[in-house]
């Protein structure tokens, strides 16, 4: 329910908001979270727990909330597993429980069996594989919280890179104070301040009622910051609703800003992203993330309306909400008295139970005693009662003896409808640990603090164990000074002393883990996963003693809250049971994400079409106009085939291939990698990286080359042209371009720096149009008048400079099809123009554009390999029957040569490239089929297989064991997949050159 308006409430009571929760309509105010609005409406049962299906309500008010998981909205805005505490209320919000607290739940139904289902239950049951296979799915069906979304997200996400000198994480008093100190004492340094909450101020906002001076400080500081921000927007950025979720090496911090959780963005500027993932790289980080409260442990501590004390205060002071009339506040430190004071200020009476027996002269207690409320000092809550919601608690005397707690036997029962507990504070050290920092246990503050800090970071405020807000301010200032020092600005930082505050309310007593409480049932540590103290005990008893084993055996801290409230208590319990100090038990590893990050926000805009660059040649539009289907090769979109209306791929390829063989075909070869190689040692360099000889290649000529890696395996191939003695242009495969280029640079820079050679990538500089077919020469003569195309003048494997349709061009007479062919290279900007001209002027010869599929057929007919299809990184030049390309007398041991002589590379059972001709010419072997021996074991496989239109029969290339010695043999290809029709296909092993074995076609007709 709401209390009467207090001036410090952060909600706007004039703006009423209607929302729906679990199919009921409720009202809240602007500034509310879903959690505060639900509490205001007295909705206290929100979900069920993971394992036992227990009904649960809110425990906290922030990210640490373990229970209140919500499914928000529908359709493309449906969002699973949000914490009610992180959803800002908006008009029309529609939410439901992740798992409904209403109705029957199987998990709760089997309650009597819970005692038989301890931690590790499933490891001990359903041990028969067959049984497990049967039951697993029914068990599985019970798991999980929200349903998965079913529709695509309607929103977008964005990444933004930031650079600054200082990042301050957390805008509580410590963070604000640090920010002011840095800004006021530097000139140009850029500062970014982030906080996951909607407002600046942190915890102090919920402490306003009890401290006026704090309130004044905050007001004026925030005002100052705002002024600064206006005047220096270039050096000061403030991001609210922004969670730093990961801290990577060298101060790279990822911050997720929530623009909206699920609210429609329709009324906003077009395309507002739902969330922005800020990539922040800074020189210095100041961590001021505060502390999370931890609860006290007692039986049935998971009933609803058992909350954290600070959270009760936050609901009250920030939202004007309290969820009970009759609260009890229970804890082991003086902040419980502050909570009580806040309640009294709001005219709510309460009782306080302080576990510490020595509280007789506690000033906080004394102050309250005068206000007439009942205070039990030296008492502990041992059990809560109530069905679902707390109704009363049992208390008993608490005794601290020999550094250990125990509870007495005299039980007293107290009625209440709300229990606020505080077991101390867990500094939010999470982020600090993401990039390798370790924590240590600090006995003074009874908490884990960050140990040795790496350079370029500071920790201040509650996260550093500093106590009250005044100290946090001083600490923020101090750490800012050290930051400035590290930046070289403040040479002699004057560090102010923290008050040795005798009235420090955050002084906590040691963890309250008496054996008699630990041994009780239903003392929950991790509420989300239903991990209890007895689970930890079982884990230890069974030998899972490391805290990491305890975590994994019990699932403690595995949930969406990552154990923010439960883990440290769990460690305390483990320490007690193991008889070890907390420091030896240690924490589990803190990992990103500090709180959940949407996959969409991780991906940013790098999805859909932008997932990976799509690269197009300059001729692309023309291919689209020609109706091409595309094949993606590397990042390139290459025409695959050009179906005419009604044609399927086979018909189109048939037509395209015949055109190239009988008249004219053309294709876009621009995607091949092109590397300009220049320098006095260019020849020597080529000789070292290719297997064949390059010393004598004359200017004006081209040569095919094969490249190996040091393992002796084929890595790439392509044609290089000699421009002059110092200048070559190399081509690589489309997919291999980048890796070849960087490998070549590596050789030059790291091994052969004595060679004078320069490499430049010119792939994008040229467009290449290949003109292929017996009539190619006729067409070339039309296209280009300043080059002589006669057979003797312009020979195969030569190139000429000329003018094609008015454009400077380098024309290469090379062929990947066996036909007479020319490749016209022009500056890329003219590519489209030349393509269109060729197509227009080639009409006379029925010139036919063809794509990669026909290219593959044409080259296979000639037995030319495709690196990556006919080879797979484990094939040598000898294996593909290309020993002819291995220069014998090169003085330099070219890349890969040494490996050719090692044992496994000279064995005779290696797979070798051969041709296969099916006995039945009409049968096309499916690619990837295997050749088998008598025992039906694989002795090879088919790498390429097509129906050859010109030969009117099927052809295939295959890797066959010792294949080169089996030419003429008959082998069996066994089809083993039903969908391909189980059969055995007899084939003749043949040469891999099927068409024009003597190479007569390469000069064309005439």
């Amino acid at each position: 329910m709401r209390v009467e308006q207090h001036p410090d409430n952060q909600i706007d009571r004039s703006k009423l908001i209607t929302f729906i929760f679990n199919n009921k309509i409720y009202k809240g105010f602007e500034g509310d979270t879903l959690a505060s609005a639900l509490l205001a409406n007295d909705v206290t049962l929100l979900t069920r727990s993971f394992k036992y299906g227990r009904k649960r309500g809110l425990m906290a008010a922030g990210v640490e909330e373990p229970n209140a998981l919500i499914s928000l909205e529908f359709g493309g805005r449906y969002t699973p597993n949000l914490k009610a505490t992180e959803i800002l209320l908006y008009d029309g919000l529609c939410a439901k429980s992740a798992t409904s607290p209403n109705g029957l739940d199987l998990r709760a139904f089997i309650k009597p069996l819970h005692r038989f289902m301890p931690a590790g239950f499933y490891y001990k049951t359903f041990i028969k594989q067959k049984v497990w296979a049967k039951v697993e799915n029914s068990i599985r069906a019970l798991s999980g919280f929200s349903e998965s979304p079913t529709e695509e997200d309607v929103d977008v996400y964005e990444h933004i890179h930031h650079h600054a000198e200082v990042l301050i994480i957390g805008a509580g008093v410590a963070g604000i104070s640090a920010a002011m100190e840095v800004l006021n004492n530097s000139e140009n340094e850029r500062v970014i301040l982030v906080d996951e909450r909607p407002r600046l101020g942190g915890e102090i906002i919920s402490e306003l009622c009890s401290d006026n001076s704090a309130k004044e400080w905050l007001k004026s500081s925030v005002a100052d910051l705002n002024v600064f921000r206006k005047e220096h927007s270039d050096r000061f950025t403030v991001l609210c609703n922004s969670t730093a979720y990961a801290w990577h090496d060298q101060n790279f911090v990822e911050v997720l800003e929530t623009i909206t959780t699920a609210q429609s963005l329709a009324d906003r500027k077009i395309q507002t992203p739902r969330k922005i993932n800020h990539k922040v790289r800074v020189k210095e980080v100041i961590l001021a993330t505060g502390a999370h409260e931890r609860p006290m442990l007692f039986e049935a501590n998971d009933l609803s309306n058992i909350m954290l004390s600070q959270s009760v205060r936050r609901y009250l002071n920030e939202f004007g909400v309290i969820s009970g009339n009759n609260p009890i506040i229970y804890g082991n430190n003086d902040t419980i008295y502050q909570t009580a004071k806040d309640l009294i200020t709001n005219d709510i009476s309460c009782m306080v139970i302080d576990v510490r027996p020595d509280g007789a002269n506690n000033p906080f207690a004394e102050e309250l005693k005068n206000s007439g409320i009942k205070i039990f000092q030296g008492y502990a809550v041992v059990k809560a009662h109530g069905s679902n919601r707390v109704k009363s608690v049992d208390i008993a005397p608490a005794i601290y003896k020999n550094s250990d707690w125990e509870v007495g036997n005299e039980i007293e029962s107290l009625n209440c409808d709300l229990l606020a507990s505080s077991g101390g504070f867990n500094p939010v050290v999470h982020l600090n640990c993401h990039s390798g920092s370790k924590t240590y246990f600090n006995e003074d503050s009874q908490s884990f603090l960050t140990g040795d800090l790496p350079s370029n970071r500071q920790v201040c405020g509650a996260v550093d164990g500093t106590s009250d807000w005044q100290d946090a301010i001083v600490d923020g200032r101090n750490k800012a000074k050290l930051t400035l020092q590290s930046l070289g600005i403040n040479k002699n930082p004057k560090i102010e002393k923290l008050s040795e505050n005798h009235n420090n309310p955050y002084r906590v007593s040691p963890f309250f883990t008496p054996t008699s409480i630990i041994n009780r049932p239903k003392v929950f540590l991790d509420l989300q996963n239903d991990v209890t103290t007895t689970d930890v005990a079982i884990s230890i008893r069974e030998g899972y003693r490391s805290i990491e084993h305890i975590k994994r055996y019990t699932a403690m801290g595995f949930g969406t809250d990552q154990g923010k409230t439960g883990n440290i208590n769990g460690i305390a319990v483990a320490a007690k049971l193991l008889g070890k100090p907390m420091s030896e038990v240690g924490t589990t590893t803190f990992r990103p994400a500090y709180s959940g990050v949407d996959f969409g926000a991780l991906a940013g805009r790098e999805n859909g079409a932008y997932f990976d660059p799509q690269r197009f040649t300059t001729i692309h539009d023309s291919h689209v106009a020609n109706g091409a289907e595309f094949e993606v090769v590397g990042q390139w979109y290459r025409p695959w085939y050009y179906p005419k209306s009604g044609e399927d791929i086979h018909q189109a390829v048939h037509r395209e291939c015949l055109a190239a063989r009988t008249s004219l075909g053309m294709m876009d070869a621009s995607t091949l990698g092109k590397i300009d190689v220049q320098g006095p040692d260019a020849r020597e360099f080529l000789s070292r990286v290719y297997t064949n000889a390059w010393m004598k290649l004359a200017p004006g000529s081209c040569r095919y080359g094969l490249m190996c890696d040091e393992k002796g395996m084929i890595a790439d191939d392509g044609v290089s042209s000699c421009i002059n003695d110092n200048h070559f242009i190399m081509t690589t495969t489309t997919g291999g371009a980048a890796s070849v280029y960087s490998a070549l640079e590596m050789w030059l820079q790291t091994e052969w720096s004595d060679l004078d050679v320069h490499l430049n990538s010119i792939t994008d500089q040229f467009s290449t149009v290949a003109i292929v077919g017996p009539s190619a020469r006729q067409l070339m003569k039309v296209l280009c008048q300043d080059v002589e195309f006669d057979r003797e003048k312009f020979k195969f494997m030569q190139w000429r400079q000329g003018t094609v349709c008015g454009v400077d061009a380098r024309i290469m007479r090379i062929s990947f099809s066996g036909e007479l062919a020319y490749e016209i290279n022009v500056e890329a900007n003219y590519g489209r123009y030349i393509w269109d001209q060729v197509q227009a002027l080639g009409k006379r010869w029925n010139i036919t554009p063809y794509g990669t599929e026909s290219m593959h057929v044409l080259r296979a007919e000639k037995g030319f390999i495709i690196v990556g299809q006919d080879t797979d990184g484990s094939m040598t030049p000898m294996d593909v029957n290309m020993s002819w390309i291995l220069a014998k007398d090169k003085p330099f041991s070219y890349v890969g040569r040494r490996s050719f002589t090692i044992e496994a590379l000279v064995k005779d059972d290696r797979l070798q490239l051969v041709g296969l001709l099916t006995k039945d010419a009409a049968v096309v072997i499916p690619e990837g089929s295997h050749i088998v021996d008598d025992k039906r074991s694989s002795i090879g496989y088919v790498t390429s297989s097509y129906f050859s239109p010109i030969l009117r029969r099927s052809i295939a290339l295959a890797q066959l064991q010792n294949g080169l010695n089996k030419l003429g043999d008959t082998v069996i290809v066994k089809i083993v997949q039903k969908r391909q029709g189980l059969k055995e296909i007899p084939c003749d092993v043949s040469s891999s050159v099927f068409y024009d074995p003597n190479g007569e076609k390469v000069d064309g007709n005439e």
């Binding site: 990577h248 090496d249 060298q250 790279f252 790289r281 390798g436 040091e710 393992k711 960087s742 640079e745 590596m746 820079q749 790291t750 091994e751 720096s753 041991s893 040569r897 040494r898 490996s899 090692i902 044992e903």
Partner: protein, 94 residues
Amino acid sequence: MFLLYCPYCNEEREQNEFSAAGEAFIARPKNPEAISDKDWADYVFYRTNHKGDHWEQWVHANGCRKYFIVKRSTISHEILQVEPFGTEISEQES
């Protein structure tokens, strides 16, 4: 993601501009034919894979395209030293 200093650009850049290019000081044998299969395998495959301060090669692939050597902790990812390629390193780890 860490920052690397490119000794050629004289500037720190994000790691995604660079490619890791393996352990440093793996020199190609001068005369491969003269060495044993074992020594050849050593050059091609075997690595120190040092845990601790590790010398390695990086290339500023999306920048100046130069290779250089870096001493980096493989435990903390801290960059301890960056040198242009060919710099003589005296304290070379074995």
